[in-house]
Symmetry: C2
Subunit: 257 residues, 2 copies
């Protein structure tokens, strides 16, 4: 099987909600999923569905609700799945392989990319998944929350886990920027342009009689550090030089006046 | 300044909500923050606060609501901050430095750890932050959502961003497991114990007349691969050997009978 881990692979990962009590959480889950590019929602014995509150919280993701599959058991929800991941608060009698969301998302995406059917199973709002349900899972995923207040809202947990799936898919597709995106609408200034700017500063500051008598070089060093750190673009250099020219002109006019 | 990036640093990062319309989102934000170990919430001109819906959605995080600071302007909310990060949908007239959540969280945590006051500013449910508000920020953070359905619920966005802050803090504190956590309640089997198990399998399968006539070695290879992959613990080895012994006994009894 070829590895084709990319954004379309997200469609091969279903989210299964087990016995959800509040329809609002079903709607918020659908919205979180669609925001992250997932689209297959399976509901095991939802208490109230369809429901106006689900539709309201789904916002524009009501298409996921309309296509949601409602089934009678977890077994039916995951029958065709090769990888079943259960969300767990991790305090179970029988320890089980547990992953944090980032590592788990990478695994889910990799297996889905190799053709596996993958399920992310989320438990009830108050009691999560039962031990029997957790034992049906290959691995458990645990969000490392504040131990003093560890219970996330159901849809919030889905948001975190599907966010990690999307980040993993973006990384696999080479679409995840590693650092700061400098969204520039102008080309960056060249070294020569910057040196001209610093020369202009030096001249203008002399014209303005503005210098540090104790250490005249210190001032230029600080200006260089500031503007180099800011990574000036060509237009910014032109703006600064325009200001310096205006200041020079004013100083000369004043000297003449 | 010393670098002390750890979990307590999270308390030095405030979340600022600007003109939130729905009090439920304020409560859900407080819950998301507390789940991730943040505790400073600042509200700029909330439409309705305090409000029963905020308290309901906060679940057990009503202490954060009780301590939330309500102010009249974004300027007042961030006046003492050295790093101001604004959540952005990234389609602005003036491009601005934009980071994805992971990179941005690392930066926020590092600066907070060095003593800076840090703010994460979240805009209105429908229209986000204005250009003027975004220009007050040092950097923008953008959640790389599905471009066809990019607008996250306010509290869901806070959940993702504070999750990344917590993950960054856990990583800095050396508390983030890199891979699968094998929660074991038994010591792993040693190589010698596994070899004894495989010998036992070979004997038992011979006793049971169970073998692959075309390739007798292939079966043992598959069993080795299965159990090595599963990383058996000592108790599991004992269980399997118990089953083999019982099978051997049954086969011999049947042979005698």
């Amino acid at each position: 099987m070829s590895e084709t881990s990319n954004l379309s692979t997200l469609s091969r990962i279903r989210v299964v909600l087990v016995q959800t009590s509040h329809p609002g959480n079903i709607g918020a889950t659908a919205r979180a999923m669609k925001n992250m590019g997932l689209d297959r929602l399976v509901l095991v014995q939802p208490k109230s569905f369809p429901h106006a509150e689900a539709t309201a919280r789904a916002s524009g993701a009501d298409d996921l609700l309309a296509r949601a599959q409602v089934v009678d058991s977890l077994a039916a929800a995951v029958a065709d799945c090769q990888l079943v991941v259960g969300a767990s608060a991790r305090s179970r009698t029988i320890p089980w392989p547990v992953m944090e969301p980032r590592v788990c998302a990478a695994r889910m995406l990799a297996e889905a990319g190799q053709g596996a059917e993958v399920a992310l199973v989320m438990g009830r709002e108050n009691s999560g998944l039962s031990n029997e349900e957790l034992e049906r899972c290959h691995v458990h995923v645990h969000i490392p929350a504040n131990p003093e207040y560890a219970s996330l809202n159901l849809a919030a947990a889905v948001q975190v886990l599907t966010y990690e799936l999307r980040m993993s898919a973006l990384a696999a597709a080479g679409q995840l920027p590693e650092g700061e995106i400098l969204e520039r609408d102008q080309p960056l200034a060249t070294s020569a342009e910057l040196e001209s700017l610093y020369d202009h500063f030096a001249c203008a500051l002399a014209t303005l009689d503005f210098y540090d008598p104790d250490n005249p070089r210190q001032l230029m060093r600080r200006l260089r550090r500031l503007f180099n750190r800011a990574r000036l673009d060509r237009m910014e250099v032109n703006i600064l030089r325009g200001i310096l020219s205006a200041a020079e002109k004013a100083a000369k006019g004043k000297a003449r006046g």
